[in-house]
């Protein structure tokens, strides 16, 4: 199956004055079309830098990155990508409907199609009733829903979700999980980073764990866990790996 994300020997350095910091060091990652890929790692491990590189927000890096066969820095690649940022901050002086209209125009969706698409994505996340309210009154969970909705607006082939369930109540979390699964059934490719390991275990086909800018393991979650002598959850496996109790 073709790779939608191809990353080989990717290194990213941040420079601030004389200080240099290596955020990613020669990472390799392949995400196949139609799979749900979980990207795990502790805070500051390099997850967001990887996502920013995939989205073309890091102009300079070493290595090779191809997203849907395009250079990630080209705007055309982003036409087919949906992105839900880690921090769901949007223009509080707009309503979800207006925000979607603005983003829809950026995606070049025709004004004829746009209202229908907006209704569809807001329905999907359960925000249609609040679509004409200013977002300044929205809770964190509602903003997460807005964030998820805007990532689906262009009917993306590749969906990148950065900590998608943060701030959601258990029911909303379940609903989002179901939406993600149904998107997979529709043939979408989903790349998501999360701290919610139980969630990752439930829905991901493949995972990769990153620590200090390096991928330390990757593969199918069930395979990784079956390699262990004792029965482990992904959570304990992750903690052992990150804390360096094994290896």
């Amino acid at each position: 199956m073709e790779n939608y994300i191809e990353i080989s020997k990717l290194s990213v350095n941040y420079a601030s004055g004389k200080n240099h910091f290596t955020a990613l060091s020669e990472i390799n990652l392949n995400v196949k079309r139609g799979e749900i890929f979980g990207f795990l790692g502790p805070n500051g491990a390099g997850k967001t830098t990887t996502i920013k590189t995939i989205l073309g927000m890091i102009p300079e890096y070493r290595g090779n990155v191809r997203i849907l066969k395009h250079d990630p820095r080209s705007a055309s690649a982003r036409q087919r990508i949906g992105y839900m940022p880690e921090i769901a901050n949007y223009y509080w002086y707009l309503t979800p409907n207006e925000l979607m209209k603005m983003y829809g125009r950026i995606f070049g969706i025709s004004s004829k199609e746009l209202p229908e698409k907006i209704n569809h994505v807001l329905d999907l996340v359960g925000l249609n009733e609040s679509k004409n309210r200013l977002m300044k009154i929205f809770s964190k969970g509602m903003m997460q829903k807005v964030s998820f909705a805007q990532s689906l607006l262009n009917d993306p082939e590749l969906l990148i979700l950065d900590e998608p369930t943060t701030g959601l109540d258990p029911i909303a979390r379940l609903k989002m999980r179901n939406v993600i699964k149904s998107l997979k059934n529709m043939g979408k490719t989903i790349f998501f980073s999360s701290h919610e390991l139980s969630e990752v275990e439930m829905i991901c086909d493949e995972i990769a764990i990153i620590k200090k800018g390096k991928i330390i393991t990757s593969g199918r979650p069930d395979k990784l866990l079956s390699e262990k002598k004792e029965k482990e959850t992904l959570e304990s496996y992750f903690i052992n790996l990150i804390e360096g109790r094994e290896r």
Binding site: Y14, K52, L55, G56, M57, I58, P59, E60, A75, S76, R78, Q79, I81, Y83, P85, I87, N89, Y90, Y91, Y93, L94, E98, M102, Y103, R105, I106, F107, G108, L134, S147, Q150, I160
Partner: protein, 256 residues
Amino acid sequence: MKQIFAIAINCLKELWRKKDIYTFLVLFFILFIFLISENFFGIRDISRYTKDIGFTIALLFSLIIAVTFSVKQIPSEVEFKTIYALLAKPLTRFQLIIGKFLGSFFTSSSAFSALFALFAIFVYIKGEGVAPILLAQSYILGLCLMSVLCSVSTLLSLFFTTSGAATLSFIIYFGITWFSDMLRNTLLDSGGITKILGLIFYYLIPHYEFYDIKIRLVHSWEPLPTTIFLLIIVYSLVYTYTLLFLSYLGIKRRVF
């Protein structure tokens, strides 16, 4: 173009929803009060003062709106982290700069248009006999001024804090309008490397004094010759585009 206008329209919505429009309404009211207070002073030849101060107020208030609105456009996207969702869309950084600039330009131009319209109506009601072509020239040059001001402020906002960029924009504006003649004369009288470097600096700075034809309005002089008028417009367009391109270069390789 759709992408650029989507960003620009959002800037106008911001103005409306954040109640920044109230600031404009206060400024409009101040100008209105000033214009209707002419009879109150009862001074002979007051009409010249009305034209002089009325036009200055209209320009100054629009300038304040242009600078204060432009300098916060991109920094606020970064501060509130809304830039991530934007840059993840099929939008180039150049389109982002142009969209933000257009939003600021539309905002300040709308404010200037309303203030200028109020001023022009009063001038005509009073029967001041200003040639319509001169009024039209003042208006168009006012729009050109907004364009250059917004592009200068946008560029500065990428390298300085919001308040620093606003302060610098005002200093540059007033410095140039007050001292550019003096600077030119001093440079022409000097010699050697000082003159060469000074003249390069002189030709690089935005010549805000080109846009102020208030003296012609006040004394009802002849309009600007068409060639000069058109050259100023071309200068504004080239200057604006150059600054916006420099702004793009400023964020092209920036990691947000």
